[in-house]
């Protein structure tokens, strides 16, 4: 986004406005307007043909129908698990790229992380299905190696959904981690060793506090992406994967209940924001710091 503070002296107001226009148009037309429309839809109830009255019934429905509520908790919980697992897997990779690999090797490693993202998420997820389905590559391989007696269906488990989510989120965790780890002065690590610290203490006292903004930024992005993901849970978890976005899809497309779907959409927005705020509070980070420093 163009930053007003870098505008050259003498820039008039309309020039700045022009620079800001694409961002403002994007925000207004694609974010604010649809959400306003959704808000209107969610806060009314149909009482007759083409007759609507303001009502909280759609929200009431969410809190009083356990299935909806459970689906949301399950989605949020699995997203948190996926985020944490992504962090644990991405950290060593980011460490290698930022601190150990030099020059070309670092570029190639980073490229290797990025290449899968040149393919659409749907195709990538279908790739997982080819690997994991009962007649797929992995079960056949395990049978051939004598580890399994019969092919086993690896699809339609929660673990499969997690694997897909982690795979799809990896890059979005690695990028902010690399940028925050690269700025860590190696002398700090050496100084800590020199003062008697071991590897674990260096990680806990020096590396993680330094990388905290990157860890938080990556976690927020990954959490939001997994929570709002639709394709991966649906394809890998099957029709009954119980993902909240599926619920929204069902309301809009299958049941044609736009009001209920809009209310779910809003609840997802509010609840995920609350979880992120709670996460920031828990780790003592501030949102502005996190986004500003990475």
């Amino acid at each position: 986004m163009p930053d007003a503070s870098v505008a050259a002296p003498g820039d008039s107001g309309w020039r700045k406005a022009l620079l800001m226009a694409p961002a403002l148009a994007w925000l207004g037309l694609l974010i604010v307007l649809p959400h306003a429309e959704l808000a209107v839809l969610s806060f009314r109830e149909q009482v007759g043909p083409r007759h609507y009255v303001p009502s909280l019934s759609h929200y009431h429905e969410f809190f009083h129908e356990p299935e909806y509520w459970h689906t949301f908790v399950r989605t949020a919980w699995m997203s948190i698990v996926a985020t944490f697992a992504t962090l644990c897997l991405a950290f060593p990779i980011a460490w290698v790229i930022a601190k150990i690999a030099r020059g070309r090797a670092a570029v190639w490693l980073f490229l290797a992380c990025m290449i899968p993202f040149w393919i659409s998420e749907t195709v990538r997820t279908l790739g997982w299905m080819i690997l994991l389905r009962e007649t797929g590559v992995l079960p056949a391989l395990l049978v051939k190696l004598g580890i399994l007696a019969h092919p086993v269906e690896f699809l339609y488990h929660d673990t499969t959904i997690l694997v897909g989510l982690i795979y799809n989120s990896m890059l979005f965790m690695i990028v902010p981690l690399i940028s925050s780890l690269e700025s860590l002065d190696n002398a700090l690590i050496e100084a800590a060793y020199d003062l008697g610290a071991n590897g674990f203490t260096v990680l806990r006292k020096i590396v993680i506090p330094h990388a905290a903004p990157g860890i938080t930024a990556g976690s927020i992005i990954v959490f939001m992406l997994t929570l709002g993901d639709y394709i991966t849970p649906t394809l890998l978890g099957g029709k009954d994967s119980g993902w909240f976005t599926e619920q929204i899809y069902t309301e809009f497309i299958t049941r044609f209940d736009w009001g209920q779907g809009a209310a779910f959409g809003f609840l997802l927005l509010v609840l995920s924001t609350l979880i992120v705020v709670a996460g920031l509070k828990l780790t003592g980070q501030r949102f502005g710091d996190v986004m500003g420093r990475t």
Binding site: D185, D194, L195, G196, N198, K205, I206, H210
Partner: protein, 366 residues
Amino acid sequence: MNQPDLTAQAVVKRFGDHVAVDSISFEVARGSFFSILGPSGCGKTTLLRMIAGFLEPDGGEIAIGGKSMRGVAPNRRPVNMVFQQLALFPMMSVGENVEFGLARRGVGRAERRKKAEAMLERVGLAGATAKRVDELSGGQRQRVAIARSLVLEPTLLLLDEPLGALDLKLREHMKIELKQLQADFGTTFVYITHDQSEALVLSDHVGVMNHGRFEQIGTPQDLYYRPLTPFVAGFVGDSNRLTGRASGVDGGLVRIDTGDGWVVEARREGDVANGDAVEVFVRPEAAMLSRARESSAASHEGVVESLLFDGAKSAVLLRERRSRREVRVALPQTGEFADLQTGEAVAFRFDPARAVCFRARRDGDA
């Protein structure tokens, strides 16, 4: 000399084909201030990192406090280091920085705090415990870095050009402060620097390093007045360097013909035979100016090319009359030549005993 705190024996470190440290041996006496002085790329940082344990020598032996350090990790050595950019932990307060090493040793919280506060007080930073590192000035950070190391009472404190990042005025001040701190604590300091003035002012002994080897180890006075190699003569302090051929060797004295009409005399250091290519080093303050012409062999003539006024370190650049070579001569403190003008013809002489002549190095490095 009592038992040395640091002994290095034939220490070697190679990086590929490049020999960074080439079979170095030296000792540092307990409680002394030892400097390793050399130009950048001479291997001094590599040597220091081997002492700290961040690099393992390819050959030889390093012993600290009489114990071999082979295979001992940096976090288990009785050595602490003050890093070039200090490497204070920005995520911690000043007090936490100083307590860091104590906490790693399992010292209790209250004890830790007491020791850190006492140490900060000793370095003149009483009450700074709660401050953030970025609230301190350059000199204060320096002191925190030293306090953070000394609180662990190491056998040896390594300092990697810690004054390099400071501005000139503060550097001069910290030089004195560092020397006082060392005298105060009595800890053995090993200091590396490329700044010969820091090495001369601070140290009890200095090792002058070049191309991975020590050219000479000695007291600052030794290095300054009795350099043993052309490199030391040229690197430590200012010198006029003349090249020529020995045209007469008389015991300790050599007569040198510069090949362009100038003949000078100098003290011989090492083997010099008649006809050898030689290098002569004359300190600016070893030469004396005069306005009266003398017709002795020791008297030379020149024309003032430029005046370099720098207070007590003022000097004048002369162009020697016959050879057209440039000679730097210090101006006496008496103010006798304060009215010297550019273009003026003057005479100068120097005591041959204070000029030193070496056989020229074959590799031709300066």
